[in-house]
Amino acid sequence: MALEQPVLTKRIPTEPWGRHEDRHYVDYNEYVKTGGYQALDKALQMDRTAVIDEIKAAEIRGRGGAGFPAGMKWSFLPPVDGGRRFLAINADESEPATFKDRLLIDYDPHQVVEGIAICMYACQLDTAYFYMRGEYHDQRAILERAFKEAYDNGIFGPNSRLGQINGRNPDLFLHRGAGAYVCGEETGLLNSLEGKRGWPRIKPPFPAVAGAFARPTIVNNVETLACVPHVMENGPDWFKTLGKGRPEGAPPHVPASFGTKLIGVSGPVVRPDVYEEHLGVKMSYCIEELAGGMLPGMEFKAAIPGGISMGVLTKDEYDAPLDFDIGKPYGILGLGTACITVIPEGYSMISCARNLARFYARESCGQCTPCREGTEWLYKILTRIEAGDGTTKDLDLLLEVASSMGIMPGTTICGLSDGANWAVRTIVNKFWDEFEAAVKKNRFVSLSVANNNN
């Protein structure tokens, strides 16, 4: 059943409740007039642990890609020891095809700021760094404005209604990245925050124990934090009426899909944009009803539903439900960022795989050999196949190289290479015929000859 009322997009006009053209920056006053910062005031009346319990009970799972339960992460923090503790907001948003956090930053940043303030109070974090990718230039001014409004109205700074935390006035600062996908990985982010190159760290220790500046640190995605005020305001039970819920018959400790999700749709569709729906909404619904279907003359061939790192869905999997359990039944890695790229009929899946492989080869930080070398190899092999010089053996080699890299096979430090692994492997496997035809047709024919024959 379609979502009845918008939650995260309550103040951001979005189909079917509002029109994209009516979107505007919601300033502090408008935010407060429409019920904003009441959740913070409510939280401040409560015991800190009671706030964490609410977030735990709501079972909000991370919206940054990994789906880790936020409440559980918050409760992993060690007891306060008088020293500093940090919050790092992950607004690196560099996963290709992903543009959902920008919606919140552009139009309703106070919703995120309120979530930040609640998190800082509950977890006793004195300083928050909003790590935003460097290429978001317009968003820098928007956030600076929103943060100033928050300081002026006693959310942060010397007059903060949070009071002192760890003996300090709570602060929220913007920290801009400078163009590196790997800085979205939470420990790469922390190194970048410390002024170093953004190399992911070996875990453990996890950030909650030793994060930024070797102190306890929570890292959460922008959208995850935007969910927090809604849970505080309406309660965990309300939150759990949204979304698909727990897999049928699963016991209560099995992580579930509660809440709504921002879903980006891009590619050749009528209304490419970010939408909000229940977790568990069918991909076909997002493409047809929300994004208005394919552009005239275009036909659906495949879709990459979670940012590129999760894998591909075929026409037969058009109705796949976008929730945290999508991975197993559909042979992909997971929900990821839930931003869909629609691939039209006529677009080569070999080009697609080559494009994705190039991304990982370019963005690999180079620490782990299987990732540094493997991504480059994938890119080279795919370029060769696309040029018409591929051999049948290349397909096996592609699969072998791809499946040997990542945290899951246990060969690398971070998940960037799992992304490369799943992106390439699912495309080759699910579109085997297309790849096979490509390597059979032009076997051992050089590029120039192949081109002349076309």
Binding site: E93, S266, G267, P272, F359
Partner: protein, 173 residues
Amino acid sequence: MAWITKNSAGAHIERQSEPYLNDEMKQELTPVVDRYPRRQAASLPLLHAMQEKVGWLPPQAIEEIADFLEVPASEVMDTASFYEEFWLKPKGKYVIWLCQSISCEIMGEPSLTDRVAEFLDIQVGETTPDGKFTLMKVECLGYCGDAPCGLINEDIQQKITPDNFIEVLKNLD
């Protein structure tokens, strides 16, 4: 062959007597440094600020930033060289960044890039001889709903068509 003195070991650094990181800038940036428990953490904000002022990051400026942050210059150099947005060589007055990631490629990036490269008569990664334009390809800019897209310096360009885009370039002075 370690006994041969290599050029790279003593690369000549252009120096100017005026510091890039002058007192005024230091004063302005001190509150930024104070946001962090360690001075080194201000590397990215300082490099951004320096690049905004100078247009790129001359080695002398990197040394001055390192001095100010009380870390070896090699640390700041290490950081500056890691990130795509930092320029260790001068760039064109206008840097054109075209997104080549999947949604933009599907929506027509390859022919767009070809047209722009042809118009500027340079390859991707190069700067026009007059120093006006540098053409770069980047990965996803987070405007995938408006594909194909790109940046001209800091200005986002959405739903680009080659003809319109070339008009935009023609009108830049």
